[in-house]
Point group: C2
Amino acid sequence: MRLRGRKGIRENLEAQQDLVVLDPKQYKGRWKERFGNDRPIYVELGMGKGQFISGMSVKYPEVNFIGIDMYDELIRRGSEKAKIAWAQKLEVEVEEVQPPNLNLALGNIEFLEECFEPGELERIYLNFSDPWPKARHGRRRLTHPRFLDKYKQLLNENGEIHFKTDSQTLFEFSLNAFAACGLQMSDIALSLHRDGVNEKHVMTEYESKFHSQGMDIYRCEVMVGREALRRHEQRKMEQF
Amino acid sequence: MRLRGRKGIRENLEAQQDLVVLDPKQYKGRWKERFGNDRPIYVELGMGKGQFISGMSVKYPEVNFIGIDMYDELIRRGSEKAKIAWAQKLEVEVEEVQPPNLNLALGNIEFLEECFEPGELERIYLNFSDPWPKARHGRRRLTHPRFLDKYKQLLNENGEIHFKTDSQTLFEFSLNAFAACGLQMSDIALSLHRDGVNEKHVMTEYESKFHSQGMDIYRCEVMVGREALRRHEQRKMEQF
Protein backbone atom coordinates (compact mmCIF):
# COMPACT_ATOMS: atom_id res chain seq x y z
CA MET A 1 0.00 0.00 0.00
CA ARG A 2 1.07 3.61 -0.48
CA LEU A 3 1.78 5.35 2.76
CA ARG A 4 1.32 9.10 2.54
CA GLY A 5 1.71 12.02 4.89
CA ARG A 6 4.58 10.66 6.92
CA LYS A 7 5.58 14.08 8.19
CA GLY A 8 4.84 14.33 11.84
CA ILE A 9 3.94 10.67 12.28
CA ARG A 10 6.66 10.06 14.85
CA GLU A 11 5.61 13.07 16.92
CA ASN A 12 2.02 11.82 16.75
CA LEU A 13 3.03 8.35 17.92
CA GLU A 14 5.33 9.62 20.65
CA ALA A 15 2.43 11.57 22.09
CA GLN A 16 0.41 8.34 22.57
CA GLN A 17 2.76 6.31 24.70
CA ASP A 18 -0.01 4.57 26.62
CA LEU A 19 -1.33 3.00 23.43
CA VAL A 20 1.67 2.97 21.10
CA VAL A 21 4.96 1.17 21.76
CA LEU A 22 7.77 2.43 19.54
CA ASP A 23 10.41 0.13 21.01
CA PRO A 24 8.71 -3.14 21.99
CA LYS A 25 12.05 -4.76 22.90
CA GLN A 26 12.17 -2.76 26.11
CA TYR A 27 9.07 -4.60 27.37
CA LYS A 28 10.36 -8.12 26.80
CA GLY A 29 9.24 -10.13 29.81
CA ARG A 30 7.39 -7.09 31.23
CA TRP A 31 4.20 -6.87 29.15
CA LYS A 32 1.94 -7.92 32.04
CA GLU A 33 3.53 -5.21 34.12
CA ARG A 34 2.88 -2.71 31.34
CA PHE A 35 -0.79 -3.74 31.08
CA GLY A 36 -1.01 -3.70 34.88
CA ASN A 37 -2.65 -7.13 35.16
CA ASP A 38 -2.18 -10.87 34.64
CA ARG A 39 -4.58 -11.34 31.75
CA PRO A 40 -3.55 -13.43 28.75
CA ILE A 41 -1.84 -11.64 25.87
CA TYR A 42 -3.00 -12.15 22.29
CA VAL A 43 -0.77 -10.75 19.54
CA GLU A 44 -1.58 -10.02 15.91
CA LEU A 45 1.50 -10.26 13.71
CA GLY A 46 1.09 -7.78 10.87
CA MET A 47 -1.96 -5.87 12.07
CA GLY A 48 -2.29 -3.73 8.94
CA LYS A 49 -4.82 -0.92 9.40
CA GLY A 50 -5.90 -2.33 12.74
CA GLN A 51 -9.60 -3.15 12.25
CA PHE A 52 -9.22 -6.68 13.60
CA ILE A 53 -7.16 -5.93 16.70
CA SER A 54 -9.30 -2.88 17.57
CA GLY A 55 -12.49 -4.88 17.19
CA MET A 56 -11.10 -7.76 19.21
CA SER A 57 -9.95 -5.50 22.06
CA VAL A 58 -13.44 -4.06 22.34
CA LYS A 59 -15.14 -7.45 22.05
CA TYR A 60 -12.91 -9.26 24.55
CA PRO A 61 -12.05 -6.82 27.37
CA GLU A 62 -10.77 -9.71 29.52
CA VAL A 63 -7.83 -10.20 27.16
CA ASN A 64 -4.81 -7.97 26.49
CA PHE A 65 -4.08 -7.41 22.82
CA ILE A 66 -0.95 -6.30 21.02
CA GLY A 67 -0.98 -5.44 17.34
CA ILE A 68 2.42 -5.40 15.67
CA ASP A 69 3.38 -3.85 12.38
CA MET A 70 6.60 -2.52 10.90
CA TYR A 71 5.11 0.62 9.33
CA ASP A 72 4.61 3.64 11.57
CA GLU A 73 1.83 4.97 9.36
CA LEU A 74 -0.15 1.76 10.00
CA ILE A 75 0.43 2.16 13.74
CA ARG A 76 -0.96 5.71 13.49
CA ARG A 77 -4.04 4.60 11.58
CA GLY A 78 -4.51 1.68 13.96
CA SER A 79 -4.38 4.03 16.95
CA GLU A 80 -7.12 6.20 15.43
CA LYS A 81 -9.28 3.18 14.71
CA ALA A 82 -8.78 1.79 18.19
CA LYS A 83 -9.72 5.06 19.86
CA ILE A 84 -12.84 5.41 17.74
CA ALA A 85 -13.89 1.83 18.54
CA TRP A 86 -13.37 2.31 22.28
CA ALA A 87 -15.03 5.75 22.29
CA GLN A 88 -18.12 4.18 20.74
CA LYS A 89 -18.14 1.39 23.28
CA LEU A 90 -17.63 3.68 26.28
CA GLU A 91 -19.79 6.46 24.82
CA VAL A 92 -17.16 9.15 25.36
CA GLU A 93 -15.27 11.54 23.08
CA VAL A 94 -12.40 10.11 21.03
CA GLU A 95 -9.97 12.58 22.64
CA GLU A 96 -10.83 11.30 26.12
CA VAL A 97 -10.51 7.58 25.45
CA GLN A 98 -7.69 5.27 26.41
CA PRO A 99 -8.11 1.65 25.21
CA PRO A 100 -7.33 -0.26 28.43
CA ASN A 101 -6.31 -3.61 26.95
CA LEU A 102 -4.59 -2.73 23.70
CA ASN A 103 -1.08 -1.83 22.62
CA LEU A 104 0.11 -1.15 19.10
CA ALA A 105 3.76 -1.94 18.64
CA LEU A 106 6.15 -0.86 15.92
CA GLY A 107 8.30 -3.87 15.20
CA ASN A 108 9.70 -6.36 12.74
CA ILE A 109 8.39 -9.91 13.14
CA GLU A 110 11.85 -11.22 12.22
CA PHE A 111 12.93 -10.12 15.70
CA LEU A 112 9.85 -11.31 17.59
CA GLU A 113 11.89 -13.21 20.16
CA GLU A 114 13.59 -9.95 21.13
CA CYS A 115 10.20 -8.50 22.09
CA PHE A 116 8.74 -11.38 24.09
CA GLU A 117 9.96 -13.92 26.63
CA PRO A 118 9.24 -17.64 26.08
CA GLY A 119 5.69 -18.34 27.29
CA GLU A 120 4.75 -14.66 27.43
CA LEU A 121 2.01 -15.00 24.76
CA GLU A 122 -1.20 -17.00 24.79
CA ARG A 123 -2.34 -16.56 21.23
CA ILE A 124 -0.87 -15.45 17.91
CA TYR A 125 -3.11 -14.18 15.13
CA LEU A 126 -1.88 -14.27 11.55
CA ASN A 127 -4.39 -12.51 9.33
CA PHE A 128 -3.93 -12.11 5.58
CA SER A 129 -0.17 -12.29 5.86
CA ASP A 130 1.85 -11.53 2.75
CA PRO A 131 1.68 -14.74 0.64
CA TRP A 132 5.16 -14.18 -0.87
CA PRO A 133 4.09 -16.11 -3.98
CA LYS A 134 7.56 -16.73 -5.41
CA ALA A 135 9.03 -20.03 -4.23
CA ARG A 136 12.39 -18.43 -3.45
CA HIS A 137 10.65 -16.13 -0.94
CA GLY A 138 9.02 -19.05 0.90
CA ARG A 139 11.13 -18.42 4.00
CA ARG A 140 9.50 -15.03 4.43
CA ARG A 141 5.99 -16.48 4.81
CA LEU A 142 4.88 -16.09 8.42
CA THR A 143 3.81 -19.76 8.53
CA HIS A 144 7.20 -21.06 7.40
CA PRO A 145 8.55 -23.67 9.86
CA ARG A 146 11.30 -21.27 10.96
CA PHE A 147 8.59 -18.89 12.24
CA LEU A 148 6.47 -21.72 13.66
CA ASP A 149 9.48 -22.74 15.77
CA LYS A 150 9.64 -19.21 17.18
CA TYR A 151 5.91 -19.13 17.91
CA LYS A 152 6.14 -22.44 19.77
CA GLN A 153 8.77 -20.91 22.05
CA LEU A 154 6.80 -17.76 22.77
CA LEU A 155 3.39 -19.35 23.41
CA ASN A 156 2.35 -20.54 26.87
CA GLU A 157 0.55 -23.74 27.92
CA ASN A 158 -2.75 -22.44 26.51
CA GLY A 159 -1.02 -21.28 23.34
CA GLU A 160 -2.80 -21.31 19.99
CA ILE A 161 -2.16 -19.86 16.54
CA HIS A 162 -5.19 -18.58 14.62
CA PHE A 163 -4.58 -18.08 10.94
CA LYS A 164 -6.72 -16.72 8.13
CA THR A 165 -6.01 -15.71 4.58
CA ASP A 166 -7.61 -15.26 1.18
CA SER A 167 -4.57 -16.83 -0.52
CA GLN A 168 -5.14 -20.41 -1.65
CA THR A 169 -1.42 -20.93 -2.19
CA LEU A 170 -0.44 -19.51 1.21
CA PHE A 171 -3.10 -21.63 2.92
CA GLU A 172 -1.91 -24.76 1.13
CA PHE A 173 1.69 -23.98 2.10
CA SER A 174 0.64 -23.32 5.69
CA LEU A 175 -1.38 -26.53 6.13
CA ASN A 176 1.65 -28.47 4.92
CA ALA A 177 3.92 -26.50 7.26
CA PHE A 178 1.67 -27.13 10.29
CA ALA A 179 1.47 -30.82 9.36
CA ALA A 180 5.23 -31.16 8.79
CA CYS A 181 5.92 -29.51 12.15
CA GLY A 182 3.62 -32.02 13.86
CA LEU A 183 1.24 -29.28 15.00
CA GLN A 184 -2.33 -30.19 15.85
CA MET A 185 -4.82 -28.34 13.62
CA SER A 186 -8.50 -27.79 14.22
CA ASP A 187 -11.44 -25.84 12.79
CA ILE A 188 -10.00 -25.90 9.29
CA ALA A 189 -12.28 -23.85 6.99
CA LEU A 190 -11.85 -23.59 3.23
CA SER A 191 -14.60 -21.01 2.93
CA LEU A 192 -15.10 -19.40 6.32
CA HIS A 193 -18.25 -17.48 5.45
CA ARG A 194 -19.80 -20.13 3.15
CA ASP A 195 -23.06 -20.05 5.07
CA GLY A 196 -23.10 -16.28 5.61
CA VAL A 197 -20.72 -14.07 7.58
CA ASN A 198 -19.39 -15.92 10.60
CA GLU A 199 -19.94 -13.43 13.42
CA LYS A 200 -17.72 -15.30 15.87
CA HIS A 201 -14.64 -13.69 14.36
CA VAL A 202 -13.89 -10.01 13.83
CA MET A 203 -13.25 -9.37 10.16
CA THR A 204 -10.14 -7.64 8.90
CA GLU A 205 -10.22 -4.94 6.21
CA TYR A 206 -9.03 -7.41 3.58
CA GLU A 207 -11.52 -10.00 4.73
CA SER A 208 -14.52 -7.63 4.37
CA LYS A 209 -13.36 -6.65 0.92
CA PHE A 210 -12.53 -10.11 -0.41
CA HIS A 211 -15.62 -11.70 1.10
CA SER A 212 -17.84 -9.06 -0.53
CA GLN A 213 -16.19 -10.00 -3.84
CA GLY A 214 -17.25 -13.61 -3.34
CA MET A 215 -13.74 -14.91 -2.63
CA ASP A 216 -13.12 -17.79 -0.27
CA ILE A 217 -11.56 -17.02 3.10
CA TYR A 218 -9.43 -19.82 4.52
CA ARG A 219 -8.93 -20.29 8.25
CA CYS A 220 -7.49 -22.72 10.71
CA GLU A 221 -6.48 -22.96 14.34
CA VAL A 222 -3.33 -24.62 15.62
CA MET A 223 -3.12 -25.97 19.15
CA VAL A 224 0.38 -25.47 20.54
CA GLY A 225 0.36 -25.43 24.34
CA ARG A 226 -0.14 -28.51 26.50
CA GLU A 227 -3.44 -27.29 27.95
CA ALA A 228 -4.70 -26.20 24.52
CA LEU A 229 -3.98 -29.70 23.24
CA ARG A 230 -5.72 -31.29 26.22
CA ARG A 231 -8.88 -29.23 25.67
CA HIS A 232 -8.79 -30.05 21.96
CA GLU A 233 -8.48 -33.75 22.76
CA GLN A 234 -11.62 -33.58 24.88
CA ARG A 235 -13.84 -31.85 22.35
CA LYS A 236 -12.42 -32.95 18.99
CA MET A 237 -15.03 -35.62 18.24
CA GLU A 238 -18.01 -33.34 18.92
CA GLN A 239 -18.02 -32.16 15.31
CA PHE A 240 -18.69 -35.65 13.92
CA MET B 1 -25.62 -42.16 -12.42
CA ARG B 2 -28.11 -44.12 -14.47
CA LEU B 3 -27.12 -47.70 -14.95
CA ARG B 4 -28.66 -49.27 -18.04
CA GLY B 5 -28.60 -52.66 -19.69
CA ARG B 6 -28.40 -54.72 -16.53
CA LYS B 7 -29.65 -57.84 -18.27
CA GLY B 8 -26.89 -60.35 -18.52
CA ILE B 9 -24.46 -58.39 -16.38
CA ARG B 10 -24.09 -61.15 -13.81
CA GLU B 11 -23.40 -63.75 -16.51
CA ASN B 12 -20.83 -61.41 -18.01
CA LEU B 13 -19.12 -60.93 -14.64
CA GLU B 14 -19.25 -64.62 -13.74
CA ALA B 15 -17.40 -65.40 -16.96
CA GLN B 16 -14.45 -63.21 -15.87
CA GLN B 17 -13.55 -64.76 -12.56
CA ASP B 18 -9.83 -64.07 -12.95
CA LEU B 19 -10.48 -60.34 -13.04
CA VAL B 20 -13.81 -59.95 -11.25
CA VAL B 21 -14.54 -60.95 -7.67
CA LEU B 22 -18.26 -61.19 -6.95
CA ASP B 23 -17.84 -62.26 -3.33
CA PRO B 24 -14.71 -60.57 -1.95
CA LYS B 25 -15.41 -61.85 1.57
CA GLN B 26 -14.21 -65.31 0.56
CA TYR B 27 -10.70 -63.92 -0.04
CA LYS B 28 -10.30 -62.27 3.35
CA GLY B 29 -6.72 -62.97 4.41
CA ARG B 30 -6.01 -64.74 1.11
CA TRP B 31 -5.60 -61.93 -1.42
CA LYS B 32 -1.85 -62.50 -1.85
CA GLU B 33 -2.61 -66.13 -2.53
CA ARG B 34 -5.19 -65.08 -5.12
CA PHE B 35 -2.72 -62.74 -6.83
CA GLY B 36 -0.07 -65.44 -6.60
CA ASN B 37 2.64 -63.19 -5.16
CA ASP B 38 3.66 -61.10 -2.17
CA ARG B 39 3.38 -57.66 -3.74
CA PRO B 40 1.68 -54.84 -1.84
CA ILE B 41 -2.05 -54.39 -2.33
CA TYR B 42 -3.53 -50.98 -3.13
CA VAL B 43 -7.32 -50.67 -2.97
CA GLU B 44 -9.59 -48.01 -4.45
CA LEU B 45 -12.79 -47.63 -2.46
CA GLY B 46 -15.55 -46.65 -4.89
CA MET B 47 -13.75 -47.15 -8.19
CA GLY B 48 -16.60 -45.78 -10.33
CA LYS B 49 -16.03 -46.46 -14.01
CA GLY B 50 -12.52 -47.73 -13.35
CA GLN B 51 -10.30 -45.32 -15.28
CA PHE B 52 -8.05 -44.66 -12.29
CA ILE B 53 -7.52 -48.24 -11.11
CA SER B 54 -7.01 -49.51 -14.70
CA GLY B 55 -4.48 -46.79 -15.40
CA MET B 56 -2.68 -47.40 -12.13
CA SER B 57 -2.46 -51.17 -12.70
CA VAL B 58 -0.82 -50.57 -16.08
CA LYS B 59 1.48 -47.85 -14.72
CA TYR B 60 2.62 -49.75 -11.63
CA PRO B 61 2.91 -53.46 -12.55
CA GLU B 62 4.87 -54.12 -9.34
CA VAL B 63 1.76 -53.44 -7.25
CA ASN B 64 -1.49 -55.42 -6.95
CA PHE B 65 -4.62 -53.34 -7.28
CA ILE B 66 -8.19 -53.96 -6.20
CA GLY B 67 -11.02 -51.69 -7.26
CA ILE B 68 -14.19 -51.97 -5.20
CA ASP B 69 -17.64 -50.77 -6.07
CA MET B 70 -21.14 -51.79 -5.05
CA TYR B 71 -22.69 -51.58 -8.54
CA ASP B 72 -22.22 -54.57 -10.85
CA GLU B 73 -22.62 -52.37 -13.94
CA LEU B 74 -19.60 -50.35 -12.82
CA ILE B 75 -17.61 -53.55 -12.30
CA ARG B 76 -18.53 -54.56 -15.87
CA ARG B 77 -17.48 -51.22 -17.33
CA GLY B 78 -14.31 -51.29 -15.25
CA SER B 79 -13.43 -54.75 -16.56
CA GLU B 80 -13.77 -53.53 -20.15
CA LYS B 81 -11.65 -50.50 -19.45
CA ALA B 82 -8.98 -52.57 -17.70
CA LYS B 83 -8.75 -55.05 -20.57
CA ILE B 84 -8.46 -52.28 -23.15
CA ALA B 85 -5.72 -50.57 -21.12
CA TRP B 86 -3.74 -53.79 -20.71
CA ALA B 87 -4.26 -54.85 -24.37
CA GLN B 88 -2.75 -51.51 -25.44
CA LYS B 89 0.19 -51.95 -23.12
CA LEU B 90 0.88 -55.55 -24.12
CA GLU B 91 -0.03 -54.94 -27.79
CA VAL B 92 -2.42 -57.88 -27.95
CA GLU B 93 -6.14 -58.27 -28.70
CA VAL B 94 -8.59 -57.30 -25.94
CA GLU B 95 -10.05 -60.84 -25.97
CA GLU B 96 -6.65 -62.35 -25.20
CA VAL B 97 -5.65 -60.10 -22.33
CA GLN B 98 -5.70 -60.87 -18.63
CA PRO B 99 -4.63 -57.97 -16.38
CA PRO B 100 -2.12 -59.69 -14.10
CA ASN B 101 -2.20 -57.33 -11.11
CA LEU B 102 -5.81 -56.15 -10.97
CA ASN B 103 -9.02 -57.37 -9.41
CA LEU B 104 -12.38 -55.65 -9.50
CA ALA B 105 -14.53 -56.53 -6.52
CA LEU B 106 -18.25 -56.12 -6.01
CA GLY B 107 -18.69 -55.02 -2.44
CA ASN B 108 -20.07 -52.55 0.06
CA ILE B 109 -17.46 -50.44 1.84
CA GLU B 110 -19.56 -50.62 5.01
CA PHE B 111 -18.36 -54.21 5.31
CA LEU B 112 -14.74 -53.63 4.35
CA GLU B 113 -13.39 -55.45 7.39
CA GLU B 114 -15.20 -58.60 6.24
CA CYS B 115 -13.18 -58.54 3.00
CA PHE B 116 -9.68 -57.89 4.36
CA GLU B 117 -7.61 -58.98 7.34
CA PRO B 118 -5.87 -56.38 9.52
CA GLY B 119 -2.63 -55.34 7.80
CA GLU B 120 -3.62 -56.90 4.47
CA LEU B 121 -3.61 -53.56 2.60
CA GLU B 122 -0.78 -51.14 1.92
CA ARG B 123 -2.67 -48.24 0.42
CA ILE B 124 -6.25 -47.02 0.23
CA TYR B 125 -7.35 -44.62 -2.50
CA LEU B 126 -10.43 -42.50 -2.01
CA ASN B 127 -11.19 -40.65 -5.23
CA PHE B 128 -14.16 -38.32 -5.64
CA SER B 129 -16.13 -40.09 -2.96
CA ASP B 130 -19.75 -39.09 -2.51
CA PRO B 131 -19.64 -35.82 -0.51
CA TRP B 132 -22.98 -36.52 1.23
CA PRO B 133 -23.57 -32.78 1.59
CA LYS B 134 -26.31 -32.93 4.21
CA ALA B 135 -24.95 -32.74 7.75
CA ARG B 136 -27.14 -35.62 8.92
CA HIS B 137 -25.44 -37.89 6.35
CA GLY B 138 -21.94 -37.03 7.59
CA ARG B 139 -21.40 -40.56 8.91
CA ARG B 140 -21.65 -41.92 5.37
CA ARG B 141 -18.67 -39.90 4.12
CA LEU B 142 -15.75 -42.25 3.51
CA THR B 143 -13.41 -39.98 5.49
CA HIS B 144 -15.62 -39.99 8.60
CA PRO B 145 -13.62 -41.04 11.69
CA ARG B 146 -15.59 -44.30 11.88
CA PHE B 147 -14.17 -45.27 8.47
CA LEU B 148 -10.71 -43.93 9.29
CA ASP B 149 -10.64 -46.27 12.28
CA LYS B 150 -11.36 -49.20 9.95
CA TYR B 151 -8.69 -48.14 7.48
CA LYS B 152 -6.11 -47.89 10.28
CA GLN B 153 -6.84 -51.51 11.16
CA LEU B 154 -6.57 -52.80 7.60
CA LEU B 155 -3.40 -50.96 6.56
CA ASN B 156 0.05 -52.42 7.12
CA GLU B 157 3.26 -50.75 8.39
CA ASN B 158 3.71 -48.91 5.06
CA GLY B 159 0.04 -47.96 5.00
CA GLU B 160 -1.12 -44.69 3.48
CA ILE B 161 -4.44 -43.18 2.46
CA HIS B 162 -4.48 -41.08 -0.72
CA PHE B 163 -7.54 -38.91 -1.09
CA LYS B 164 -8.73 -36.60 -3.84
CA THR B 165 -11.98 -34.81 -4.49
CA ASP B 166 -13.51 -31.84 -6.27
CA SER B 167 -15.74 -31.12 -3.27
CA GLN B 168 -14.58 -28.21 -1.14
CA THR B 169 -16.94 -29.19 1.67
CA LEU B 170 -15.86 -32.85 1.66
CA PHE B 171 -12.20 -31.85 1.62
CA GLU B 172 -12.72 -29.47 4.52
CA PHE B 173 -14.57 -32.17 6.46
CA SER B 174 -11.83 -34.68 5.67
CA LEU B 175 -8.91 -32.47 6.73
CA ASN B 176 -10.67 -31.92 10.05
CA ALA B 177 -11.34 -35.65 10.36
CA PHE B 178 -7.68 -36.55 9.67
CA ALA B 179 -6.55 -33.89 12.16
CA ALA B 180 -9.03 -34.95 14.84
CA CYS B 181 -7.92 -38.58 14.47
CA GLY B 182 -4.31 -37.53 14.96
CA LEU B 183 -3.34 -38.71 11.48
CA GLN B 184 -0.22 -37.30 9.85
CA MET B 185 -1.05 -35.51 6.60
CA SER B 186 1.31 -34.60 3.79
CA ASP B 187 1.24 -33.26 0.25
CA ILE B 188 -1.93 -31.28 0.86
CA ALA B 189 -3.00 -29.63 -2.43
CA LEU B 190 -5.89 -27.19 -2.75
CA SER B 191 -5.59 -27.09 -6.53
CA LEU B 192 -3.73 -30.20 -7.67
CA HIS B 193 -3.28 -29.14 -11.27
CA ARG B 194 -2.72 -25.42 -10.59
CA ASP B 195 0.49 -25.41 -12.63
CA GLY B 196 -0.79 -27.71 -15.38
CA VAL B 197 -1.87 -31.34 -15.21
CA ASN B 198 0.16 -33.20 -12.61
CA GLU B 199 1.28 -36.33 -14.49
CA LYS B 200 2.40 -38.13 -11.36
CA HIS B 201 -1.17 -39.22 -10.66
CA VAL B 202 -3.59 -41.06 -12.93
CA MET B 203 -6.73 -38.97 -13.39
CA THR B 204 -10.20 -40.32 -12.71
CA GLU B 205 -13.14 -39.69 -15.06
CA TYR B 206 -14.52 -37.01 -12.74
CA GLU B 207 -11.10 -35.43 -12.37
CA SER B 208 -10.59 -35.05 -16.14
CA LYS B 209 -14.04 -33.53 -16.49
CA PHE B 210 -13.88 -31.15 -13.53
CA HIS B 211 -10.33 -30.08 -14.26
CA SER B 212 -11.26 -29.26 -17.88
CA GLN B 213 -14.04 -27.06 -16.44
CA GLY B 214 -11.46 -25.11 -14.45
CA MET B 215 -12.51 -26.50 -11.08
CA ASP B 216 -10.04 -27.04 -8.27
CA ILE B 217 -9.06 -30.60 -7.43
CA TYR B 218 -8.15 -31.15 -3.77
CA ARG B 219 -5.75 -33.86 -2.69
CA CYS B 220 -3.89 -35.08 0.36
CA GLU B 221 -1.96 -38.07 1.60
CA VAL B 222 -2.25 -39.54 5.06
CA MET B 223 0.58 -41.54 6.60
CA VAL B 224 -0.81 -44.36 8.72
CA GLY B 225 1.73 -47.16 9.08
CA ARG B 226 4.84 -46.95 11.27
CA GLU B 227 7.24 -47.17 8.33
CA ALA B 228 5.21 -44.67 6.30
CA LEU B 229 5.48 -42.25 9.22
CA ARG B 230 9.20 -42.84 9.56
CA ARG B 231 9.82 -42.11 5.87
CA HIS B 232 7.64 -39.00 6.12
CA GLU B 233 9.64 -37.83 9.13
CA GLN B 234 12.87 -38.09 7.14
CA ARG B 235 11.72 -36.12 4.11
CA LYS B 236 9.13 -33.72 5.51
CA MET B 237 11.37 -30.65 5.66
CA GLU B 238 12.61 -30.98 2.07
CA GLN B 239 9.68 -28.93 0.79
CA PHE B 240 10.67 -25.83 2.77
